[in-house]
Symmetry: C2
Subunit: 480 residues, 2 copies
């Protein structure tokens, strides 16, 4: 294992991130431009995300299915805005089985089009609705600039695709799935996301409305962490999907789509990480507890490992995910640093004196140094650790929410916004600007409207940019 010195966040957050994802063993570089190798530790984190979401999808009546990786070029062209949105990013298969293909195949950048083609066959009557499908898949977007987990040429995600009899039902589904994302983000990933609507400028290509959960990273930049789209009848019309309604009239259904990707790994890293490494919320951590045995000779080793085995069995019985670091030839201090780098929420240290005294040292990753360390009795360790994990989960959410709230500033004028963005933070203000206004702000400050939050003050005010009367506040920030 290499040296664990990391560029501090305060010096260069971007460098910190780019170092830490590799040092914490989440991923590795690949020989394919813009593609990442997700290493076992990173993949376990993804499995926790996937399982947390999949459970929620199934509980809300969705079923998984699988559609082809390849999309005929002509499909993508059917929805005009959609093809325009994705064209520059496509990877195209032109040769297969040794021959040039008559029609090139696109490696899916998202699956709306090919799934709509199936929906056309599956939907005949109102009895076939709602149709609630989800897919776990890899997708490819040929991005020019890539960063581990945040923007990669190939990434893993889920994409939900549903069809409904009415606009209202589709809208309710779109909002429900945003709530599912937010519930996962807040309660499992300890990320206090803000739910809101995207502006016309920022919405998905081909959507009526796009809803988003936006998270604040430790550098105060925003990360869009999941989106849910009400696609109206746009795709249903483009793909000629029709159903007989209860009064025997032919109608186009209303469709939605929603996606969350391996980007969530980046969100977890940048919401919680510090200069010592990752800090993983217990609910998604591959290991919730690491046990580091401490000994100097074989006598001590025997006694310590015996006690470790006992504690391990007791903790495992309560389904705590746990790793015992039995590696030889590495000092306890090295191991402590290593597990702090990997962000394990609780470290349990046990040496010969602890064996004698029936004690154990517990160090929590969310509170640094001595303040986060306690010495407790070995008896009742499971209850104690479970309690501590719950406490850490809650505390990490609170820390992130406090940080977020301290870095959102009300703005009354464009100068205010410029100052906020320059200093680092999100600007919140009344907004009635146009697409062009958003474009100008982006060009001049680098900030975009992250969302029009669902949580609004009510009433009306004066748009900080245009001076016009506004009935919504917007959140502006630089974003990943």
């Amino acid at each position: 294992m290499a040296s664990q010195a990391v560029t501090p966040q305060s010096v260069d957050f971007s460098a910190w991130y780019n170092e830490i994802v590799y040092k914490a063993d989440l991923c590795d570089l690949s020989p394919v431009r813009g593609c990442l190798i997700i290493k076992p530790y990173g993949y376990e984190l993804w499995e926790a995300i996937r399982n947390g979401l999949d459970r929620r999808f199934k509980a809300t009546g969705h079923q998984n299915a699988y559609f082809p990786l390849f999309i005929p070029e002509s499909f993508l062209k059917r929805e005009a805005e959609h093809v325009e949105g994705f064209s520059p990013e496509l990877a195209v298969v032109t040769i297969a089985g040794g021959k040039e293909l008559e029609e090139p195949l696109i490696v899916r950048p998202t699956s709306e089009t090919i799934i709509m083609e199936s929906f056309k066959n599956w939907i005949q009557s109102y009895r076939d609705l709602p149709l609630l499908i989800n897919q776990w898949a890899n997708v490819v977007r040929w991005e020019l600039r890539t960063r581990p987990f945040l923007r990669t040429t190939e990434f893993l995600w889920q994409e939900g695709h549903t069809a409904h009899a009415t606009f209202d039902e589709a809208e309710a589904e779109t909002r429900q799935m945003l709530d599912v994302y937010a519930d996962f983000a807040v309660n499992d990933a300890a990320i206090p996301v803000i739910k809101g609507r995207k502006t016309e400028r920022e919405k998905f290509a081909g959507a009526l409305h796009t809803y988003t959960i936006e998270a604040m990273m430790r550098d105060t930049k925003a990360l869009q962490s999941g989106t849910s789209h009400n696609l109206g009848q746009n795709f249903a019309k483009a793909f000629d999907i029709k159903f007989l309604d209860e009064s025997n009239q032919l109608q186009h259904p209303w469709t939605t789509s929603w996606g969350l990707s391996t980007r969530m790994i980046g969100a977890i890293v940048m919401t919680h990480g510090d200069d010592k490494g990752l800090r993983l919320p217990p609910k998604v951590a591959p290991y919730q507890v690491v046990i580091v045995p401490i000994y100097k000779n074989d006598d001590e080793k025997g006694a310590v490992l015996e006690a470790v085995a006992r504690l391990q069995a007791e903790l495992a019985a309560t389904n705590i995910r746990l790793y015992v670091d039995r590696r030889e030839g590495l000092s306890p201090g090295f191991k402590f640093n290593d597990w702090e780098m990997r962000g394990v929420p609780v470290r349990l240290e046990i040496g010969p004196k602890d064996v004698q005294n029936g004690t154990v040292a517990l160090a929590r990753r969310d509170i640094p140094g001595k303040e986060g360390k306690q010495f407790v009795s070995q008896s009742g360790i499971s209850a104690k650790v479970n309690e501590l994990l719950t406490e850490i989960q809650a505390n990490m959410l609170k820390q992130a929410a406090d940080f977020r709230d301290a870095n959102i500033h009300d703005v009354q004028s464009y100068d205010d916004l410029k100052a906020v963005v320059e200093k680092g933070g999100w600007g919140r203000g009344w907004w009635a600007g146009s697409n062009a206004d958003e474009g100008r702000i982006k060009d001049e400050t680098g900030a975009t409207v992250r969302c029009l939050p669902f949580d609004q003050p009510g009433g009306a005010g004066k748009c900080f940019f245009s001076g016009q009367s506004a009935d919504k506040i917007a959140l502006f920030a630089k974003a990943y």
Copy 2:
């Protein structure tokens, strides 16, 4: 729902299969040549397979990771036999981000090459070994003739890739993973597979040894259902992977790979299905129990649905996977046929008389007609159903094993084999033939060596084909 009439197996097994996978709602045709859409019912079956295997992989110390979909063309060419084996089947990305790529990218047909490139970086010393990695992924092989689940252009699978310090360790891993596959096939999928070694002619391109589990389908054709390869040092040498051993010598590690795919869905369908549809083993069935309420009017409906809700709650409490068919406007008889088509192991029928008498009718899918139906008390239904599921699981394995054993015939001569193959069945005989002999037998009879079974009689005999002395028996069959 369309008519459920199916071509009988005895009339045309191939037609039976091609109809049933669609009628049972496992899959749908896709607009992309050779690619399948896996519908929710089929995908749930795949999830059961995936979960059953993933649990076993983790229990034997393997970790999941994820490698890029694309493989640089040059990588594939490094191992000579490997590229020769896959060249005709490749799908090639030549354009990405609007530009022609300098080096074309192959959509992975399997990931040995790109994973070995990582192993080169991850393996330095004997302490890094064994390295035990698995990947769940989609792969693409541009097959000319495709059949749902059995051979599709894109398919889902897992591919394990491991590296070891010695030949013996690699060989033990290769055999262990075949045992894992066999354990899943026999105990979860109720498929009595035969474990064995592939001949030189049939082994994987680039492997030292290939082991296989072979299953007999209801038409007596063989289906290779999972393979495990000892790759020797071939890939380690081709990718220049080296490690310092305990005596400080540089060595090439020994690698293995092993894969099982959505083909297993086809194996389950063709091992157990009958003229009424699928028959799914309880351990992998998306629904283990379906409840069909029977009523003629609203009074009856109220009473019946109340009893159904009670039974549902009681069964769900024991984690039985269950579906209540509350669909309106469909007769009970239609529903019975529909769930028989989908292969649900246990059907529970409840009507007004059952409500009065506190009874319920239980029909098991593995025993047709009245013989498989019983009327039992509602009290203690969970215990009864759980017992029945266990019994069905065991009975389906026995039925399949009996069928298999009745259709394997010892052969003393080539004429014997021809007769067996013509009649439908597997030939088992002493074998000392050459690659060319195998080729001739294939050309003349359509049968190939499925494997040299691990379970050998011992001793020696006379090769039924060449007349030479042989110390192994081989299994010959037509195969999918």
